[in-house]
Structure formats: structure tokens, C-alpha cells
Symmetry: C2
Subunit: 363 residues, 2 copies
């Protein structure tokens, strides 16, 4: 089985659908009945307010453990979620997770620049890794994460929740099926007015400003709606008030060109009121979402007046269940590390363009 699993995960990493025999299928069906144990690494507001509650809504996952540097948080979570003491780790003890059969997946929810470090420990401990976006703060660090998880023969997924969200899936289908003809222009924005003092404003932890944090949703949308990779980007950033924005950009606008001729123009800001939307302008009509990137309450818009109104589900529950299914059924994930790396590569090109005051060609 070990050899087969190795083969299977490598195939999955390569994006190929693996061959699975009837006997193995039956074994997997049995396996699918158990829930995979997730350990949350980093207990900030995303873990607290979204991921932990979402785990209770999953079919194939359970909150098995936590990794935190803050003893008070450990105590609070232990009590709230009834987590056994043996499944509670800090960053010094995290490597011992290797000996813990309760934990199948480490979900990395720490600041961006610490994703790699935590993923390396998790992979070395033989655990699957699910990592929040942005994957890391440089292409090199993304590649290191991919290599490490691959060497451990585990599965790596990036937390692109919109890739599983029914409104977004419906928009992807409208684009892919050319329901309104070819897509000509994609327009997207995501931003909010950030409070001072948070780690997201520190360059060494965040890697960048609103682009890395929320602009990445716009970038993703332009990629999964067009179904293509940008070949040319141009960007411009502003600094804003020095009190908040001494290290990262305040706002950014960018434009991209895709091989088929689709154009995109996007923005992201840490200094504008909360708003997130995208609009797809196609030959015979337009469609989009507004709000598009919230955890719930998404609203579709179509030029023909018809609704985009699928049953909404908890976005974190769906993405974690999908990752668990990929592990249990040994199939590729639609959000592999390569996908996270691609976005980081494009975001680095956007920053390069803004710094250099010139467009950047992408291969």
C-alpha cells in the first residue's frame, strides 16, 4: 500500500487522475467513513471565527489538535473544543506531531511568512498540509513548500475557498461554457480599511499589503474566470499615511492581458471601506458577484436578469471536506501548491511592475 500511495500522491501532485483498482476503491470507501484529524496551526481570528466552527460542519474532518505559541489560547481551545492534552502543541513541540496518529492534516493559518516553516515541520512529521493563502511571500519559498510536502509523499492544498464556493463555480461555468460568448474584460476589486498595528502591515510577516491579503482574490478570479494565465501585467501602488503604511502598499491597481485577448483591471486597498466584487464583460452579456468574496451573503448579477443563487454552504467546511476527500480517495486537489505558487509569482510581478514603473511580461 505504501508504494501505491506514494505513486498515487505523486500522480495527484502532477495533476493526473490516478488509476485505482476495485479492491482499493472498496478499501478507500471504508477509509472515507473515518474523519481526518485536522490540527490548526495558528489560532488567530480566522481559526477562531471561521475554521474551527466550520470543522463542525464537515463530513470528513474533525478538529483533532492545535499548535499555538500562546498558552492562554491553548487552555481556552482545550476547554472549548475538548481537545486532549496530548494533541496540543507549541512551535517547539510541533515536530512531535509525527508520533500522533490522531492528526492527519496540519492546517497552517499563521502569518504569511511563517507558512513555509510550519509546513516544513508538518511535512517532516508525515502530515498532509493545508495552507492559507497567500501560500508564502516568495516564489522560492512556495517551491520549497511544494518540494518538502512532495518528498514526504503527502498532499498539499492552498486555502482558496472561492474555488469551492457555489456562486463562484456558477460564474466559472458561465465563462467556460461561453454562456454569454467570449469573455472580453474582467473587472475586480477587494479591499477594506485596516486598523493600525496588525501583522498584515508588517512587510517581514505579510510579504506585502492588500494585494497579498485580499487582492489575491481578484487575481484568482481573473484566472479562474478566464481559464488562462496572464502574460502581461502592469501595476501601480500608493503609500498612504505613514502611520499605517510605512512597510506595505496602501492601495494597488493593476491590469493584465491573457493569451486569448481577455483583459483584466483590478484594485485592492487597505484604506477603503469594505467592498469586494467582480464583473465579467462578455460578448453577449455580463455577469458577476457583489459582494463576491465575503464568507457569506454573496450576490450574483447577470445582464439577462436571471439569478445566480445556488445554495450557499460554509466555504471553509467545503474546502476542508474536499481536501479530506482528495486524501481519502487519493485524487488530486484543485488547489495544489502549484496554484498557490502561480499567484505568488504573479503578485511578485505586480510589485516589480509598480516598483519599476513598467509592465512585466510573464511566461
Amino acid at each position: 500500500m505504501a508504494t501505491r500511495r506514494k505513486f498515487v500522491f505523486q500522480a495527484a501532485a502532477l495533476g493526473a487522475a490516478p488509476f485505482i483498482s476495485t479492491r482499493v476503491t472498496r478499501a478507500l470507501a471504508a477509509a472515507a467513513e473515518r474523519k481526518l484529524g485536522f490540527a490548526l496551526c495558528g489560532l488567530g481570528s480566522l481559526s477562531t471565527d471561521q475554521i474551527a466552527p466550520a470543522l463542525r460542519k464537515t463530513a470528513h474532518c474533525r478538529l483533532a489538535g492545535i499548535i499555538t505559541g500562546t498558552p492562554a489560547k491553548a487552555a481556552r481551545w482545550q476547554a472549548q473544543y475538548n481537545i486532549p492534552a496530548r494533541n496540543i502543541y507549541n512551535y517547539e513541540t510541533m515536530h512531535r506531531i509525527a508520533d500522533n496518529a490522531d492528526i492527519d492534516v496540519v492546517y497552517v493559518v499563521t502569518p504569511n511568512a511563517i507558512h513555509l516553516e510550519n509546513a516544513l515541520v508538518a511535512a517532516k512529521a508525515g502530515k498532509h498540509v493545508f495552507c492559507e493563502k497567500p501560500m508564502e511571500i516568495s516564489v522560492e519559498r512556495c517551491q520549497q513548500m511544494i518540494d518538502a510536502v512532495k518528498a514526504a509523499n503527502r498532499l498539499l492544498g492552498i486555502g482558496y475557498r472561492c474555488r469551492f464556493e457555489p456562486h463562484h463555480l456558477e460564474c466559472m461555468a458561465l465563462a467556460r461554457e461561453r454562456h454569454f460568448g467570449a469573455v472580453k474584460v474582467i473587472d475586480a476589486h477587494f479591499g477594506f480599511n485596516i486598523p493600525p498595528g496588525v501583522w498584515r502591515l508588517k512587510k517581514d510577516l505579510a510579504g506585502g499589503g492588500p494585494l497579498m491579503d485580499v487582492g489575491i482574490y481578484c487575481l484568482q478570479a481573473t484566472r479562474y474566470i478566464s481559464g488562462e494565465e496572464p502574460i502581461w501585467v502592469s501595476a501601480s501602488t500608493t503609500k498612504g499615511d505613514a502611520a499605517r503604511f510605512s512597510e506595505v502598499e496602501e492601495s494597488i491597481v493593476w491590469e493584465s492581458r491573457f493569451p486569448s485577448g481577455t483583459l483584466s483591471h483590478c484594485s485592492s486597498s487597505y484604506a477603503a471601506a469594505p467592498a469586494g466584487y467582480f464583473r465579467v464583460l462578455a460578448e453577449q452579456g455580463w455577469f458577476g458577484l457583489d459582494p463576491a468574496f465575503n464568507y457569506g451573503g454573496l450576490k450574483g448579477l447577470r445582464s439577462d436578469g436571471r439569478a445566480i443563487n445556488p445554495n450557499a454552504r460554509d466555504q471553509f467546511a467545503v474546502e476542508m471536506d474536499d481536501f479530506a476527500r482528495c486524501i481519502l480517495e487519493q485524487t488530486p486537489t484543485r488547489v495544489p501548491g502549484e496554484e498557490g505558487l502561480r499567484d505568488v509569482k504573479i503578485m511578485m510581478a505586480l510589485y516589480e511592475s509598480a516598483r519599476g514603473g513598467r509592465p512585466v511580461a510573464l511566461s
Copy 2:
């Protein structure tokens, strides 16, 4: 009076509010009771479907004459609007308008690249000139128009109807009064799917593609919402199918930076279904219009859920009445030739950026 009028129109052209004595004010009040005679130069769909019907809704204007190269149109309009034969001109006889006291204003509605030629004849004939947007197809030609109308001591206005439209005025006020704080990002799009064979697809008549025709509304919006002039622009264009787009761009995206730090990103297309909107993202909220640029049915959007719902008026009637009032009261117009030139200058920079594959700095 002639000398005073000369002084007054030159002051108006410079954007200064002229000094007007009580005696003159009384004389102007009397003058204001008469309606200014407009001659429409170019009887395409805009004149036929919008401007001529709008003239009937004005307080200070009347359809006095027409200039057309098509005898059949002359006959049809003469019958429909009861226009005296002496007020009907073609492009060979147009200069004789100088002797026609019925006609105060020539409204130039011909293809873009013929605006200057017609404006020169009108100015030389001593008539005020109102000219459709885009003003012309080069900065030099815009300047020639400004100079000619100034030399004739007449008033020149450009048909920027949104500058008089109540929804747009309310948005301008929200931005100017910082109702939602400082404006961080402006996002705008305007486009439609153009039929083949029209003059707008011919470079020598149109000067460019969707940018010159409808993208100019987005550019205007970014300027009158920010209240600033862009200092940096970057653009990218696509060619699209050769049958329609052998001469002008199919679609364009661009981004701009304004002195205070406001950023904009816009698009325009001749290959996407009709859509036109803008969204203003400010510190404490957002607002915008969608649709924004139609002749009617505009709809406002505000992040606080409050309405942007002023009484709509015929946009062409309002802009012509304003121009007439400026003539009668000898006050500056808010849409002088200089405003038209500014947009053409920026659009030429956008094309330069797209051609050169690099941003362009503007002074």
C-alpha cells in the same frame, strides 16, 4: 457692447467669472427671454434620436437650422421640424450661416475627425460652437478649434452631458465633500458590442476605438470624481477580430494615478455587451452608478444603503440649456474647449502607452 462682450467671452474662456454691471444684468435678463437658435451639423442617430427631441424640452434653445450632406435627410427634417428652407445648409453652403440671424449656435455632431472643420466654418461665421465628444482626434486639432472660436469671440462648449446630469452631480458632491472620506480608487467601464461597417470603426474618422467613443465617459468620471488630473497612465489594448477591428482597438484597459494618491482602473470595449458603470471606493464607504452613462434610467449605489435618486432630466436638454444660459448671461461654461482638449491629451497618452508597452507620465 461689442467690446464688453469681447472682454466677457475672453474672461469666460479663461474660466474667470466676469464682472457684469446692473445695467448689463437687466439687458441680459431681457435677452434670456429669447431662445437661442441651434443649427445641428450632422444628422446621424444622435441628432435624430436624442438632440432634436431634446431641443423641444429646453427653456432657452430651439431647433433653428440644419447642416447635412444628405438631401433626403434635409427634406425629412424640414418637414418634421418645420424648418424654413433658408435655414437648411449643406457643407458647401454652411459658411453662409454667417448671414443668418436665426442661428446663434452650431452644434457639431459629425464624426470626430470632422469636428474641427465644421467648428472652423461656424466660428468664422460668427456662431457659438457646441461640439460633441470626443472634441477631436488630436491635441493640435483641439487647440485649433479653441483658438478659432476664441478669435471669433464666441463661446465653445463640449457635449459632456454627464457634467449636468443630477446622478453624476450627486456623486461629484459626495466625492468633493468627502462624505465617505477621501477617495482611494475609482473603477469604471463603458462598452458595447459594435456592429460592423460604421464610421466609428474607421481610424481616419473616429481617431480611435471604444476609448474615444465611450471610454471617454470613464476617463471623465475619474477626473470629475477625483477633482484632479491624472499624472501617470498605463494602458493595454486588444485588436479582436480583423473583420471589425482592422483600424481601431477592440478593447482597452487602463490605470491612472492622481496627485493626491487616488488610483483609477478602467476599461472600454466595442466587443462586449452594453454595460457602463463606475464605482468610487472611499475611506468610509463607496458609491457609484450602474448604469452610469445611459441617456436615462441611471441607478445609484451607496454602501450605506441610502439612495442616489435625484429627479432625472433629459441630459441633452440640460446641457444645451446650460450652454445657452452661459451665452445669454456671458458666464463661463463648465465644459469649455480646454476640457475637451484635456481628455484628448490623456487619451493620446493612453494610446501611446498601449503602443509603447510602457506607462506615460502626464504634466
